[in-house]
């Protein structure tokens, strides 16, 4: 009886969590797309290569997932920071270039 109750609670908690997490993106997808389009047009206006996307956008997507951005990054270490993050965050070379371009322009 206890065992059944334990599993029932566990399954209920897992289902609720799954449903909550699965449903939440539906509410944000539309606004996110609008924001992405705005960022993309900004990056095109700034002359960033279209296929690599905006460096700021990549920075927000990959770096800000785990930590806040440092208040300032010395230009002397921008390349080292991004190479470090390429390994830590499993960035592709393309994303690394986009983020480096963004940080170098700050």
């Amino acid at each position: 009886m206890n065992l059944q109750s334990k599993y029932r609670n566990r399954i209920f908690a897992s289902c609720c969590t799954g449903l909550l997490l699965a449903a939440l993106p539906l509410f944000s997808a539309q606004n996110t797309q609008q924001k992405q389009q705005a960022l993309a047009s900004q990056s095109q206006a700034a002359g960033a290569p279209d296929h690599e996307g905006s460096g700021e956008e990549k920075f927000q997507q990959y770096c800000s997932r785990c930590h806040r951005a440092p208040q300032s990054i010395s230009p002397r270490i921008a390349g080292t920071v991004v190479r470090h993050m390429r390994v830590r965050a499993s960035l592709s070379a393309q994303d690394e270039r986009a983020i480096l371009r963004y940080l170098s322009a700050q």
């Binding site: 930590h67 208040q71 270490i77 080292t80 390994v87 499993s90 070379a93």
Partner: protein, 352 residues
Amino acid sequence: MSGCEKILSIHRGAISRAATFLVAVCAVPLFLPAQDTPLISGGVGFLTSTTGGNTTYIPVLSPVLAAPLGNHLLVESRATLLESFFPKGNGQPGYTSASFKGLSYLQLDYLAAPHATIVAGEFLTPFGTYNERLTPIWTSNFESAPLIFSAGTMGTASSVGGMIRGDAVSTPNVSLSYAGYFSASSKNQQFNAERSAGGRASLFFPQPRLEIGGSYGRRLQDTHENFAGIHLWWEPANVPVKFRSEYAHAPHSEGYWIESEFRLTHDADAPGIRGGFAPVIRWQQTFRSSPDPTDGLPSANTRRPDFGLDYHFPHEVRINASYSRQFSSTGDVNIWETGIVYRFLFPTWRGK
């Protein structure tokens, strides 16, 4: 040639090769682009933890070194130095202390291809998300690691061997990242690791900023055991909230944690209270299926809500405070934690 001369000859060769390597390593920075200067980063903090009325005080320093070598290599390391002051116990008044100095990782990264990096040395075991992403003291929302932290991280949370990792596919709609490793058994005090293998793969959808992934690890020494885990992170761009969650299954226990961080504004750099405050909530639960005093997970089924408040001051200073209530058949307990952490980041030398 006598045996002694043979040994000398062998050592002379080894010394010569080591000297050549050192000279080459020292000379590399001279040819690096200006933006590839080696850096020192990390955090320094003062933490307190009160469990069941006993308070522990922990001053801690956690420096990170990253030094590029040429265009394809990177040496990186993170260390932790701390002293913890805790009550003597057994009815004795006063405090005693214990110190810890250790390397979390010391690795050489070779950027072999646009989508693959080869890592050698001591590295953080790539299981789940917490170990690699949230263990730095300047990153984690709570001082204490989740209850399931030791599941899949093979005891020491670090591995000694080789790893290949990267981003297999990267498009505007989805990216697939991966990490696969093999670790040898090492009893060295600074490079302690268990013989194991495993990896992690995750899909990230940039538009909704949703990540889902799975991890697998197999311990290959003593009793061979399997560990599995899944994680789900969602950090919407248009709502100032983050959700992180992880589930791990170990041979004798399993559990999960779900964490939410709220902000009062989209703009994390906004001045004052609006940009600085970040309330955080974490719920965690573990289920014990059979006794195992060595796996690091709670010995009985446990539930624990954590409530925290982080405040980010200007100049990279953060304070955090949290209250947790742990419910278990072995006894319920209150846990209070506070901390102040300063994060630093600077070049190893000043430029012209």
